[in-house]
């Protein structure tokens, strides 16, 4: 075995793009990247969307996804250049020496075939193992990856197991042929935070036990810090910084890396509750039409003027339903909601205009929250016209003021949403909410779809606007780091109930209930050895019980 498993030199990757209304043209998306990977080591590739990290990962298997083509440089695996080899050699490499774990296991498994057949397919096809050996190996891997009923899970179909389990099956699929290198492409991104930590630990253990090398691709520096030996930071297809994990996390050299490391470290001092809450939710219970269980069970929370209440929970906890109930989209089956001293009517059509105006909402997907056929000016201008009857120059002036407030400035009024970046879109949505001069804005996962640095910018903007406009936020999120950054009080939700509620300092301080403990301890921290500590702690606790 050579001492370098994967050697990449001057890798350039191009793609053909089809801009609307123009001729298609070729662009370069990766501009000459170099790195080495020794056997058994893990290299983390990190960057925001569009950094080219997945493309680089797939290039190590001589694969270009949908119109992507490797245009220059060399990629050597075990001393052989894979880019200049013929298709036959490339096929012998894929699935045997290098394997792949994708972000969405649910889509990557063939729905019509049993899991076992798919997990062992490459190992058998590449003549690495006999069918019997491969199946034994698969069961062993299922056990190692902590899957329930490892002997029999292989006979199930992909839709019969949960998302987190399927992601582990995908890891088993990649490890089964005993490859030299596994490419992990955002393997935990689609998972809930409490599931993510288990899968992450399972992957890390499997890598250690099998001695396989790995390329670990993610946008989350805290995650990659837990599993990798080296980290390469990428931005727009070029290397920003490349070093050991310790150096990148603890002594970053480049500004961009520093920003990534210090992301989520916004400091926000908790405000004290007042006597008159702007929003009071009392004993609210709700269910969707045609179902027979309550998605919200007896919810009681308060929010004070100019403050932020963070509602935290995983998917299915009912946190977004709470927003629908408050806005009147889903009338509660029980309970009352008081807004600024007035009792809100349960359903939307019966609410007076002032209630609607003072209660605004910002959505997770800014893309779908703006009408693609309206300009930014129309989008922000409509509430001004609708609520305040502003017209002409007066309206223009106010639109510009709002654009300045969200730090966009001149020249945006006539643009369409499709011409804006993700962060800009979300800012326009904020401006639309502010235009109504609301007392409360419900923010539903407003930063989840954004890259970390962009999300940081949005959070800072929201905090700043809160100071200026004295607006309260009901902030719905699954991300505890975000909560720390902006909340004054916190409600933790689990299966339709508020399991913990109070000022931030109290909610985030021990003693914890079980769920909050699990949730808090599952959020990856930007430090080495965090994963081991958490796992060790959990083992100790369960041993202690």
């Amino acid at each position: 075995m050579t001492d370098v498993l994967l050697k990449v030199r001057g890798l350039k990757i191009g793609a053909t793009i089809f801009p609307p209304g123009e001729k298609s043209r070729d662009i370069e998306i990766v501009h000459g990247v170099d790195f080495d990977l020794a056997p058994g080591k893990v290299l983390g590739l990190i960057g925001e969307s569009g950094a080219g990290k997945s493309t680089i990962g797939l290039a190590s298997m001589a694969y270009g996804r949908g119109g992507v083509e490797i245009t220059g440089g060399t990629v050597e695996v075990n001393g052989r250049d894979v880019l200049s080899s013929g298709m036959r050699d490339v096929r012998r490499l894929r699935g045997a020496e290098v394997t792949y774990v994708s972000q969405s296991a649910a889509a990557s498994f063939n729905p019509a075939k049993q899991i076992m057949e798919q997990v062992t397919e490459a190992a058998i096809f590449q003549n690495k193992f006999s069918k019997k050996e491969a199946e034994d190996r698969a069961v062993e891997l299922f056990r190692k990856l902590g899957l329930p009923d490892p002997e029999n899970i292989g006979s199930r179909y992909p839709h019969q197991v949960s998302g987190g389990q399927l992601q582990r099956c995908m890891t088993a699929l990649a490890l089964c042929p005993q490859p030299d290198l596994v490419v992990f492409d955002e393997p935990t991104t689609a998972l809930d935070v409490t599931t993510q930590i288990d899968v992450l630990a399972a992957i890390k253990e499997a890598i250690r036990d099998t001695g396989v090398a790995a390329l670990y691709i993610t946008h989350d520096l805290a995650v990659v810090a837990q599993v990798s030996d080296h980290i390469m930071v990428l931005q727009q297809g070029a290397t920003v910084e490349y070093g050991t994990t310790d150096q990148i996390i603890n002594a970053p050299k480049e500004d961009y890396t520093k920003a990534l490391v210090s992301v989520r470290s916004i400091d926000h001092e908790e405000k004290q509750p007042t006597d008159n809450p702007v929003l009071r939710v009392e004993n609210v219970t709700a269910r969707y039409k045609g179902t027979d269980f309550d998605v919200l069970k007896n919810i009681n929370v308060e929010l004070h003027p100019g403050q932020t209440l963070a509602v935290v929970g995983e998917s299915g906890s009912g946190k977004s339903t709470l927003a629908r109930v408050i806005t009147g989209l889903l009338p509660p089956s029980n309970g009352t909601i008081t807004f600024d001293g007035r009792t809100l009517t349960p359903d939307l059509p019966t609410r007076p205009l002032d209630d609607l105006r003072e209660l605004q909402m910002i959505y997770q997907m800014a893309d779908t929250a703006m009408n693609p056929r309206q300009t930014v000016g129309t989008i922000i201008g409509r509430p001004l016209e609708f609520y305040f009857g502003l017209k002409g120059a007066e309206k223009q002036k106010r639109i510009q003021e709002l654009l300045d407030e969200i730090e966009l400035g001149e020249g945006f009024q006539d643009r369409y949403p499709a011409e804006l970046s993700g962060g800009q879109k979300q800012r326009v949505c904020i401006a639309r909410a502010l235009a109504a001069k609301p007392k409360l804005i419900i923010c539903d996962e407003v930063t989840s779809a954004l890259d970390p640095l962009v999300a940081d910018g949005i959070l800072k903007l929201l905090l700043n606007l809160q100071k200026i406009e004295d607006v309260a936020y009901l902030f719905i999120t699954h991300d505890l780091a975000t909560v720390r950054a902006i909340a004054d009080s916190i409600a933790v939700m689990f299966q339709g109930e508020v399991v913990r509620y109070g000022p931030k300092s109290q909610v985030l301080a021990p003693p914890f209930d079980d769920y909050t403990d699990l949730l808090l301890s599952s959020v990856p921290e930007m430090k080495l050895g965090w994963l081991e500590d958490v796992i060790a702690n959990r083992k100790m606790e369960s041993a202690g019980n």
Binding site: M61, S102, S108, F109, N110, K113, F125, Y157
Partner: protein, 339 residues
């Protein structure tokens, strides 16, 4: 009970319900429409006695609901009534015509289905390259011309021009020309009778088969192409590629099991379409099938015949769509292997 059996049973019941509703619609369409049907049939110059006789014969003096149920009751026992124009039993006249129509549709399907799927696969294999482009250009043309015109274009070139062309080939020996003339003869009239052998029958309907094939080929191919592309762009195909599997193995093991349901769906929808295309093609080639029978009697305003034919066409159409539905259910792994 396995949920899939329940689902299939539900679909079957729904199909029957639909057929029942369709029979009401057909009956209503011919009975409750504005205007005096008897007057329509006999024209303005009809005598009052003739009108009264026809009304009695049609049972128009009875309420529509009771007429409908006596009609439906007859249909269920295989009694389709008698034709107004010649007083013959409709079921009897329909028998051979229906089998002729099915014969034509069957052979058109035998040729069109494999051809369409093969061409669809080719279009996917050479996506965005010239075979794909040629195929989609031809497709676009054939769906832009009505069936009967394709028929006449083929008659014009193959039945009329081709023999003249062959006669004009003086460089060929007389023997060769005669051989070609007798073997490349495309009849513009599709005769059909019991004394013909199978080969003679098929020869007689070569042109109608070609027209029907062209008519459904385009749609079927386009839809097959879309269905296969949809499967081939799935992430699990990429997974298979990244396992180092060859293209053929990927198609056989991973694409095919998932493409089968959409393709069967495409085929069924187009067979249903073909059954309708038959109506026009039969008229073009004077083929003694159900379509021609229907069109003739629409012009003669022979309502019982129209009702009977309409019901049979609707039944075939609903039946084929039902098969497509059921195949989709059976092929869905989520339904076959419930949690």
């Amino acid at each position: 009970m396995h949920p899939i059996i329940k689902l299939v049973a539900q679909r079957l019941a729904l199909g029957l319900l639909l057929l029942f509703a369709a029979s009401i619609l057909i009956f209503a369409g011919t009975s409750i429409l504005p205007g005096d049907v008897a007057q329509q049939i006999l024209g303005q110059s009809a005598t009052p006695e003739a009108l009264e006789n026809l009304r009695r014969e049609l049972g128009l003096n009875e309420p529509a609901v009771s007429r409908y149920f006596s009609w439906l009751g007859g249909v269920m026992q295989g009694d389709l009534g008698t034709a107004l124009t010649n007083g013959r039993d409709i079921a009897e006249s329909l028998g051979t015509r229906l089998s002729n129509t099915l014969f034509l549709a069957f052979w058109a399907a035998v040729i069109a289905v494999p051809l369409a799927i093969t061409l669809g696969l080719l279009a996917v294999r050479y996506k965005d390259r010239w075979p794909d482009k040629v195929i989609s250009a031809v497709t676009l043309t054939t769906i832009s011309i009505p069936e009967f015109m394709i028929g006449y274009v083929l008659i014009f070139f193959l039945s009329i021009q081709l023999p003249q062309l062959i006669n004009g080939m003086e460089f060929l020996s007389d023997g060769a020309r005669n051989w070609m003339l007798s073997n490349l003869r495309f009849s513009s009239v599709a005769l059909m009778n019991d004394s013909m052998t199978l080969i003679e029958k098929i020869k007689s309907i070569t042109l109608p088969i070609m027209v029907l094939t062209l008519v459904v080929l385009a749609h079927m191919m386009r839809m097959t192409r879309a269905a296969i592309l949809n499967v081939m762009q799935s992430a699990y195909i990429e997974t298979a590629e990244l396992k180092g599997l060859g293209m053929l193995k990927i198609i056989r093991k991973h694409a095919f099991p998932n493409a089968i349901a959409p393709i069967v769906n495409v085929v069924m929808i187009n067979l249903a379409y073909l059954v309708v295309g038959v109506v026009v093609v039969e008229v073009v080639f004077a083929y003694p099938g159900m379509g021609q029978y229907l069109v003739d009697h629409v012009a003669k305003r022979d309502i019982p015949v129209v009702q009977a034919c309409g019901l049979i066409f609707a039944a075939v159409y609903i039946g084929l769509n039902l098969v497509a539905d059921i195949v989709s259910i059976l092929a869905n792994p989520r339904l076959r292997h419930p949690k």
